[in-house]
Assembly symmetry: C2
Homo-oligomer: 208 residues x 2
DNA sequence: CCCGGCATCAACCGATCGGCTATCCATCCG
DNA sequence: CGGATGGATAGCCGATCGGTTGATGCCGGG
């Protein structure tokens, strides 16, 4: 019997996942949480084998990546399987760096979800195809790779910030931001900020 | 027995909603769809009383608003209850203009969902509290109201477009765009484009 | 050890943005 | 019938922004 805890801020999704999972003989949901605190207390009270983690947990709570990191920092940490809507480079990297064992998308068919949970419980790594593709493309040498810092700039850019504001946000000078932007332009093959945002979204470097 | 069709591009959410709903004596799911075509054929094959509609249906398909409009254009149209994640002014307005009867958020408790479905089947209007608040604020006289056109500009702005690009996108002259922007600045109490985007997101006029 | 990638920064210059004033037209409403 | 509102447009001008180029320091790999 694989013990599962759900972490998602949507009651509908939680209840839905619970209903789906409990239709499986070998899976049982032992708890639900909608944020960091609940997740910690539930996991402590009913130690699960696998935690199903949503990444976007509403604005008030910590993000799923932080919650994942917090859970993985426990003495005997549960395996974490991320189940979310977005498959952008930054989301994936953050989650995996936080210690997630797998990364599935919410538009996956239920069978894939069940299989993923079982594989995660066995300690295997589970990645949705598009997620795997993103990671491969990232480590492919030839492809022009956007650096972490540049991704940060792209995210701010997509929020419509000006150079000065980005500089303030990143604690660097405006000149540095401009430099990052120039590099981004060459790497993405564009020459304007709007174009950069478009391509970055297109290539799933950031999310819309 | 209230007959329901689910329209959502996430299998997990669809299956989850189905499981939840079928736990209710008086509700039955008679079909699921993940986009416009499926929705039309399913509704034709198994005429429902209520359609539960997600607004963001993946990039390839039409949006939930268009699907809603298409369904409401049928001879004997089903009632449409929007069930989505976002409660921005533009989303709400688009959905209601398309003929949706109600608007609930996915973070609503299941009970509210069931009640909403029953009310919708009776032809009543169902709005989540925050949605109602947004609508009220919009029709409140004193508050500086951003016009529809200005919202369009704000959305383009949040995508990082320049004035010239917005002008092209909206089929107007650059002067017009600037004029809209000036009005937006005064109404939102800011003096930069990035600031306008920030306040617009903050006030839920557009979504991040 | 030296090269390359990454992050940082400075100075320069042209494009643009922002703010202003003013006009025109359609629609809606009392 | 006015009057108000929303939308579209023009022209102006100075401040600022955005983009390029070039240069520095740091770190890790070959």
């Amino acid at each position: 019997m694989i013990r599962i805890v759900l972490v998602d801020d949507h009651p509908v999704v939680r209840a839905g996942l619970r209903a789906l999972i409990e239709g499986q003989e070998d899976l049982v949901v032992v708890g639900e949480a909608d944020g960091l605190e609940q997740a910690l207390s539930v996991v402590a009270a009913e130690p699960p084998d696998v935690v199903l983690m949503d990444l976007s947990l509403g604005t008030d709570s910590a993000g799923g990546a932080e919650v994942t990191a917090a859970l993985r920092a426990l003495e005997s940490p549960p395996e974490v399987l991320v189940l979310t809507t977005y498959d952008t480079e930054s989301d994936i990297l953050r989650a995996l760096e936080a210690g997630a064992r797998g990364y599935l998308l919410k538009d996956a068919p239920p069978e894939q979800l069940f299989g993923g949970i079982r594989a995660t419980a066995r300690g295997e790594t589970v990645l949705a195809p598009s997620v795997a593709a993103t990671l491969v493309r990232r480590t492919t040498p030839g492809a022009s790779t956007v650096t972490d810092r540049e991704v940060e700039v792209l995210e701010l850019l997509s929020r419509g910030l000006g150079n000065k504001e980005m500089a303030r946000e990143l604690f660097v000078s405006e000149a540095t931001v401009k430099s990052h932007l120039s590099h981004i332009y060459t790497k993405l093959g564009v020459d304007t900020r709007a174009g950069a945002v478009a391509v970055a979204i297109e290539r799933r470097i950031i999310r819309a």
